[in-house]
Subunit: 411 residues, 2 copies
């Protein structure tokens, strides 16, 4: 069964609001056996909206439309559906009563223009919307289905979960899609591609390789009649990918690097402290995005100035000799954080996140160190992608380095 | 001039990633006089992608494509464009040299499959991409334009701003839409609506009021033949809105609260230090997202444990008496940060960002304090929206509190 999403709203085409509904719906469809081949956005324009619906009906079985169900003149989704199907709208008295009651319950007089929201066509039934004034439309005609839902995400999501998804799941019938994402770090996209080349011919599960901010992801997606059968298809391919890639894989699905590293620390009863310069607290903030981080994270310093670094025990000699942006200073910061907060591991980061040279070093210069009882390890690189992405990459690299250290210590 | 955006990627249609590129691009087009009538998403499928490009060329003047420029077999944007235009791809040796140099600079051997990213067709020229391996394509044929850019937002945005937008702006021509966004904080959306009610009838500029994470935004949008004429329409309405709202407005357009507060500190030669518990470095990281923050930001502490707070000078008595999550401790943290780092102002934050009760206090409990020579000021509230949003709101409130303090001190 093939579906298509149409988002309606000039505001979206002007970039004034984000269309989060499309992603929400896209993520829900695979599990009920419905394939999404097209998504499109059209403005509040009757001709273009009708054209989009007509094309959708020609190439898809189910059209899911969000937006354009409000009470004003530029809300045109009902009109466009009626137009394409050649049907005439009429007031649904039951829906009208519900809507009048909705306003009465809030002590607000009923704006007569809202009667528009109670209209139907012969092929449509109203879908209740307890969170707003616009009922949805469920339309069946010529073996095609059209679902129209309101644009506000809270209204749309409730309607989808309680009313629409259960009905569509019954139509879906044959075939569900499930997926497993394996997350790697430390090896580039093309090299991962080469390593798992023997698996890439697989059609079911299909395999995709994607570069992400937290490393390269490998996505295995299997189709089958039932979820259990799809997982059976995924299992041997996943096993082989895990065998080939080993510890290059750090997690799966919704795992985060900070969560995985946190679990490693927690399981061994180890603690961590940080001292950051250019990332300026982003590492600390990321580490504590994990529930229970207080078990292993002892705290950190945002040592933005050389003076503060020295006050915390980074020696003036090292700074003088190598500059504040150096692998040596990163190491001294990691050691100082560990010592000051009495932690098993310390992480130090110093680099250039802004777009100006510092100490004659280019933007994106980055030095990251981990210190522990074993001594120290560090990574240095230069890669500038703007302040935010540069900070984010440094944080990811720091977590990668700590994971590498913890793996080595375990072995 | 009529444009259309095509986002390419099966991942988007599976709901696995959000297509933020479309909104970014949609928001940039009005100012260069280009109308966006359609946006659509297609998967990594040659037939459907070619079909989308063909339809786009039939109804639009400019096609803006993002995604599908990676090195792997399922990256098909180049192939689809070549297909629709009936042209044959060849290796662009200049681009190949650039790409080989990119890998060499990073000490990584060149994966031969990446040669694919250096291909062109006769109608296309390569658009440089200093942030990644995939150059873009600028295609001109039969008075139509196709721009293909890589999917990763950091790469796409740089390419758009530096290479594509300036060229498209020259093509644009008659009729532009410009907008001014006034940003407020501390007053709710409906109250703002009431205050500026006399302005809301304006048709050109049109006026919209939107609740955002950093306060309520008021958007004035004017249409005219040229940018200058549109700004003349906006000026009197903006002036009146500024007169009504006064210091409730903290900035405009791309201003950030951290930038505005940083400018206030910088202009008066004042300095700032922070001590954070539940936000755990996010305030420090946000403050230093501003270029030049080193001028006024002396550094900070992520005092995640009670022990660390005490080590930094927060008295055990205060913690004992009021609990670690209290206005009194926030005040003591602000004072300690200020004292330890010898700054004019200190900010302290303590609260609950996780979804469990602490000290019998509910999730979302938040205490924020500013300390200075004048004494201290603070804000406390309880509002839980999940960890990330709760941390973000606390950071915004801390910056709002510092701004309020600085305004009061100036007066």
């Amino acid at each position: 069964m093939r579906a298509e999403i149409i988002s309606v709203g000039t505001e979206i085409l002007l970039g004034e609001i984000t269309d989060t509904n499309s992603q929400y719906l896209a993520a829900r469809l695979p599990a009920i056996g419905i394939d999404l081949y097209h998504q499109s956005t059209v403005g509040d324009n009757l001709a273009r909206l009708s054209e989009a619906i007509e094309r959708g009906l020609a190439r898809s079985d189910v059209l899911i439309i969000t937006g354009g169900l409000g009470p004003t003149d530029d809300d045109l989704t009902r009109e466009a559906i009626a137009d394409v199907l050649g049907e005439t709208m009429f007031v649904d008295s039951e829906a009208e009563n519900r809507l009048r009651a909705f306003f009465t319950a809030r002590g607000v007089s009923f704006p007569e223009r809202n009667v528009k929201q109670t209209m139907l066509i012969p092929s449509a039934t109203a879908i209740p919307n307890p969170r707003g004034t616009a009922p949805g439309w469920w339309v069946e005609k010529n073996d095609k289905y059209i679902v129209a839902m309101p644009g506000p995400p809270a209204e749309m999501q409730r309607m989808w979960e309680h009313e629409v998804e259960p009905k569509l799941a019954q139509l879906g019938g044959a075939g569900v899609l499930v997926s497993r994402v394996l997350k790697t770090i430390g090896v580039g996209e093309s090299h991962i591609d080469e390593m798992i080349a023997p698996l890439l011919n697989s059609a079911n599960p299909s395999i995709g390789v994607y570069a992400k901010p937290d490393g390269v992801h490998i996505r295995l997606a299997a189709k089958a009649d039932f979820q259990e059968a799809a997982w059976v298809l995924i299992a041997p391919v996943e096993e082989e990918a895990r065998r080939i890639l080993g510890t290059i894989i750090w997690g799966a699905d919704n795992d985060t690097l900070e969560g995985v590293v946190g679990d490693m620390l927690d399981a061994r009863g180890l603690t961590l402290a940080t001292m950051e310069s250019c990332t300026s607290g982003l590492l600390a903030s990321t580490i504590t995005d994990v529930t229970g981080a207080a078990q292993y994270y002892k705290g950190g310093f945002v040592a933005y100035s050389t003076q503060m670094k020295m006050g915390l025990g980074v020696s003036a000699d090292i700074i003088e000799q190598h500059g504040a942006i150096s692998a040596e200073v990163a190491g001294a910061m990691a050691a100082a954080a560990r010592r000051d907060l009495d932690a098993n591991y310390g992480i130090g980061i110093t680099g250039i996140a802004g777009n100006d040279e510092v100490e004659g070093k280019p933007p994106g210069t980055m030095h990251i160190a981990v210190a522990g009882e074993f001594g120290a390890d560090n990574i240095s690189y230069t890669f500038y992608q703007g302040r935010q992405a540069t900070k984010r990459r440094a944080v990811t690299t720091a977590l990668f380095l700590l994971r590498r250290t913890l793996l080595a210590q375990a072995g």
